[in-house]
């Protein structure tokens, strides 16, 4: 089962602190959306509003076209997978998974066979009789997922579901989550502060900061053409090149950029990703730069470079891994003009 979600102008305050300010969001049925942002940005608050654990001060939440703003969690077609999994320690895994069906009045035989089916879906088909404390963190996480999916929710809400796992397990669980979502077709809304996780898993990323949506779109678009400076910085490392708007053009220490300035007058920032800095010729020339240090990172060499045109600036570049640049060497740097995104200085 699956349904679209609409968030209409939701605002919520905790005392004087605005946790959510005028959030508007459309999530299509069957979409995998991640809410991405630093801690305190309001992403978990928004998830609580979707799950019904928090009634927003203003605005509406529609699930499958129906107003759910004041409907309690038990009556919503959503289930939430909590950060600490919140499994019932006194029940077997099968009873945990079957709990929602038991509450819905499904008979014992039917719910147990459904629980076995869901446990098999998450790769724990043989473990139905075990207790949660016998499992590893990754396995508990799978049980929590099976428990949420057993009631066939239209929307599954995941609150930092991979936060407690180590990095390797996290990366493999990402793939699994995505595969399971494809299989069941349910709308997934996933909260995380890890942008790699968000990019690996999401159809669409919603970047949040200070209770607002900074940017939303496909991972590739947000990474390459972020709408705000915050989104650019949160999605990955950037070089911030100071710039100014002069006569309808963007002036940088390395010469003008063929871009229209976002604001006339005032200071601007041109953002350039480390991997967009190249020694191969391209339309925008940064010019000669001295290598301050460089290190081999496997798939690239990471170098700090001081450009001659702006000696007080240090650029980070990810250069091809085949040759480690020597310290003190002078390289001529280039970038494609498309790779530079220009924002007003904040």
């Amino acid at each position: 089962m699956t349904a679209p979600v609409t968030v209409e102008a939701v605002t919520h305050r905790f005392g004087a602190f605005a946790a959510l300010s005028d959030i508007r969001l459309e999530i299509a049925a069957g979409e995998y959306v991640t809410l991405l942002g630093p801690s305190g940005c309001g992403k978990t608050t928004l998830l609580s509003v979707l799950g019904g654990f928090l009634e927003p001060g203003e605005g509406r939440v529609l699930i499958g076209g129906q107003d759910m703003t004041h409907v309690p969690p038990a009556k919503r077609p959503t289930t939430t997978m909590f950060q600490d999994y919140a499994l019932f320690p006194h029940m077997s895994l099968a009873d945990n998974v079957a709990f929602g069906l038991r509450m819905a009045g499904v008979g014992k035989r039917a719910r147990m066979s459904r629980a076995a089916e869901m446990l098999a879906l998450v790769g724990l088909g043989e473990a139905g009789a075990k207790r949660p404390h016998e499992l590893s963190g990754g396995q508990r996480q799978r049980v929590a997922l099976a428990r949420c999916l057993a009631v066939e929710p239209e929307v599954l809400l995941l609150d930092e579901p991979l936060g407690a796992l180590d990095l390797k397990l996290r990366r493999s669980m990402q793939d699994e989550l995505k595969a399971i979502q494809r299989q069941v077709g349910t709308t997934f809304v996933h909260v995380t502060h890890d942008q790699e996780e968000a990019m690996a898993i999401a159809d669409r990323i919603v970047v949040m900061n200070a209770g607002r949506i900074e940017d939303e779109g496909a991972p590739r678009r947000i990474y390459r053409e972020p709408r705000t400076l915050f989104a650019a910085g949160f999605m990955g490392e950037i070089n911030r090149i100071p710039a100014r708007a002069v006569a309808g053009r963007v002036e940088t220490p390395f010469g003008p950029l063929p871009a229209t300035p976002p604001a006339e007058g005032g200071a601007l920032v041109a953002c350039l990703r480390p991997e967009a800095v190249s020694t191969a010729p391209a339309a925008f020339e940064i010019g000669p730069a001295r290598v301050r240090d460089a290190a081999f990172f496997g798939t690239y060499c990471r170098a700090h470079l001081v450009p001659e045109a702006a000696p007080d600036l240090t650029l980070v570049a990810h250069l091809p891994p085949d040759a480690l640049p020597e310290e003190g060497a002078v390289l001529t740097l280039h970038a494609e003009p498309d790779a530079l995104a220009v924002f007003p200085e904040e």
Partner: protein, 255 residues
């Protein structure tokens, strides 16, 4: 070497358990006085105790009062703890203090107060009034034990249960109580043992039917006898059984 600490430990336990040991030993006395020299062993006094209708009736009364008041105290204590831990109640701190306050009042004062109230209300003294008195002293203990063990872990599980469609009654029945079972059982067994050997309140609030400590008291007035040792041993055995039962039940659940 490390003899001194062991000596100290042995002395400590000797101090605690010697009186009980002597009591139990002389319950097996053959003669009519529970004083050395020890003659026996004999089960004579146990036979006499168990053949005494007044004593066995008092013993049964004590069991019923202890079990009943324990159930009431635990139920009330749990509901108070759940309400205060899970809901925003105005004046939580004040209510909590009010619930715990009876712990600081002596049993004599609690008993006297209840005696006056019961007399004025025209209710007769009975095992019921003694049971009520024991609920008054045990409710704060049950509340404190259960309240202290209500943590974030249960709260999250309760939230998950609600999210999966459970109503409030199902949340308590299927999630909160099973998860708090160790604390609830500990509170129950503690209040049972406290009621089992409580004397002052039972003495003040009973009349014709009495609990075992009150019966023992009336027997004491006619002097020492190995009969008392035998009853004391039975009382001790019941308390030990309750404690062992609690340990087994609670630790088995934790594992």
């Amino acid at each position: 070497m490390r003899v001194l600490p062991w000596l100290y430990l042995a002395a400590g336990f000797l101090f605690i358990y010697l009186p009980v040991g002597v009591l139990v030993l002389f319950s097996f006395q053959e003669g009519t006085l529970p004083v050395p020299p020890f003659e026996g062993p004999s089960l004579r006094w146990y036979a006499e105790v168990l053949g005494d209708d007044d004593l066995t009736a008092a013993l049964l009364n004590s069991v019923v009062v202890a079990a009943g008041q324990g159930a009431v105290a635990v139920t009330l204590g749990f509901l108070a703890a759940y309400g205060l831990a899970r809901h925003v109640v105005p004046g939580t701190v004040f209510l909590r203090a009010l619930l715990i306050a009876p712990l600081t009042v002596s049993y004599l004062i609690v008993g006297l107060g209840l005696l006056i109230v019961v007399q004025r209300a025209g209710l007769g003294l009975s095992l019921w009034t003694a049971g009520i008195g024991h609920v008054v002293i045990n409710l704060p203990i049950c509340f404190a034990i259960i309240y202290a063990s209500m943590g974030a872990q249960q709260q999250n599980a309760e939230r998950a249960a609600r999210d999966l469609g459970a109503g409030e009654f199902d949340v308590i029945r299927l999630v909160t109580v099973p998860m708090l079972a160790p604390a609830i059982l500990a509170a129950y067994f503690l209040s049972v043992t406290l009621s089992w050997d409580e004397f002052i309140i039972a003495f003040l609030l009973t009349r014709f039917e009495v609990t075992l400590p009150v019966e023992i008291w009336s027997m004491l007035r006619s002097g020492l006898s190995p009969r008392l040792n035998a009853i004391g041993s039975v009382v001790f055995l019941v308390s030990v059984t309750a404690v062992v039962l609690a340990e087994v039940l609670i630790f088995r659940r934790r594992r």
